[in-house]
């Protein structure tokens, strides 16, 4: 009897905890009834002592939001990926070439998204997917580069993410990319703004809690670009960074700046092992 009473006590305590905190739920994500998505996995080695397990932001969202992402018809982000699929085979620029002329089908690019940001030997820099797309446009197509986080660009990154869904994020953090990665790590733990908040203060120390009306996740970027219900459009990862830094009441870095590229590499590496989810649905 005593044992039973104790058990009830414990259960109600856990219940209260789940309401007050905003812990991730237990759920599995299968896209269109076929593609299994890894939303929880062992943390990469470099996060030893920080997290045992890395958890996708999908598990921090409400039931309705999670369901939307599980079906491509219901995922509004896929409308934008489809627009990019149309653009994929449109020839542009002085060379008269389209993406399809060199790369074939978007599906042939499945191995691309999981490894970006990535060191580019020729350019001697770490490149995000956006930078690589613009390098293609300028050097191969002779076309005008797209605005770093403009509509065309976000749509194209959504398309390239969508064909990689289910593959594990796996960005290289050693070799020539290491110094950029170190710079990103430094930024992650640096307090910015009048509120003196580092990325780690929210996403490492307080994930699973509420920040005002929103859930704090571990802050992985495997789901970007993300369709947000609050602004009904696709949001690029560096725009999210900008929003976060702005929320600390700091002057932010510009999307596409070397600082955000370094931060993107570091944050991506924290999610190594999670499946690519973009375009995901979040609130």
């Amino acid at each position: 009897m005593n044992g039973l009473a104790w058990m009830f006590g414990a259960v109600s305590l856990v219940g209260a905890g789940a309401v007050a905190l905003a812990d991730p739920v237990e759920d599995t994500l299968v896209l269109n009834g076929e593609t299994e998505i890894v939303t929880r996995t062992a943390a990469p080695e470099h996060l030893d002592g920080v997290f045992d397990e890395v958890i996708s932001g999908w598990l921090y969202r409400e039931d309705e939001t999670r369901v939307m992402q599980a079906d491509d018809f219901d995922n509004p982000g896929m409308i934008f990926a489809e627009l990019a699929r149309d653009a994929w085979s449109v020839a542009e620029g002085s060379e008269g070439k389209s993406c399809a002329d060199c790369h074939g089908e978007p599906e042939d690019m499945a191995e691309v998204r999981p490894h970006y940001p990535k060191w580019n030997e020729e350019a001697g820099e770490v490149r995000t997917l956006e930078m690589q797309i613009n390098a293609c446009r300028e050097d191969q197509m002779g076309a005008e580069p797209w605005k770093y986080n403009g509509g065309d660009m976000v749509n194209m990154t959504a398309l390239l993410s969508s064909v990689s869904r289910g593959l594990p994020v796996s960005v290289a953090i050693d070799g020539p990319a290491q110094s950029t990665w170190e710079q990103g790590k430094e930024m992650y733990y640096t307090r910015y703004g009048q509120l003196e908040l580092a990325c780690a203060n929210c996403h490492e120390d307080n994930n699973g809690r509420m920040i005002r009306a929103d859930h704090l996740s571990q802050g992985h970027i495997n789901g970007f670009p993300t369709y947000r219900l609050k602004n009904t459009k696709l949001n690029a990862v560096q725009d999210r960074f900008k929003g976060c830094v702005r929320d600390t009441r700091a002057e932010t870095f510009a999307p596409g700046s070397p600082e955000f590229v370094a931060l993107e590499l570091y944050v991506a590496s924290r999610g190594n092992g999670l499946s690519v989810e973009g375009p995901s649905v979040r609130n």
Partner: protein, 109 residues
């Protein structure tokens, strides 16, 4: 003329006779309400999908009148009972006179 309009429908490829199936439809459309003004203060003319219908083998399933307050990319999900094999026909009517159509076959079994 509305740009980038693309209808999409999702219908199961087969059903049991008499089964109620779920149909999802979406048409990408900017659904300009006619209430907004451009940078110069001129009213942006209304341009919406004003009617959506679904028919099965010539028999009407739903017929929806749509108004300017409906959001961009209107999405409809509804159920239909399938008595026999046949064809669903979906039709969207645009303010500009365009008619967008889509059909889906469904088998019994």
């Amino acid at each position: 003329m509305a740009e980038g309009v693309k209808p999409r429908v999702k219908v199961p490829s087969s059903a049991a006779a008499g089964e109620a199936i779920t149909i999802k439809t979406l048409i990408s459309h900017q659904m300009e309400s006619g209430q907004r003004k451009d940078a110069d203060g001129n009213t942006i003319p209304r341009s919406i999908i004003n009617r959506f219908t679904c028919d099965f083998n010539g028999q009407n399933v739903v017929d929806v009148k749509m108004e300017p307050a409906i959001s961009t990319n209107p999405y409809f999900e509804f159920q239909a009972t399938v008595p026999e094999a046949g064809e669903f026909k979906f039709t969207w009517y645009d303010d500009d006179g365009s008619v967008y159509e889509e059909t889906k076959e469904i088998a019994i079994g």
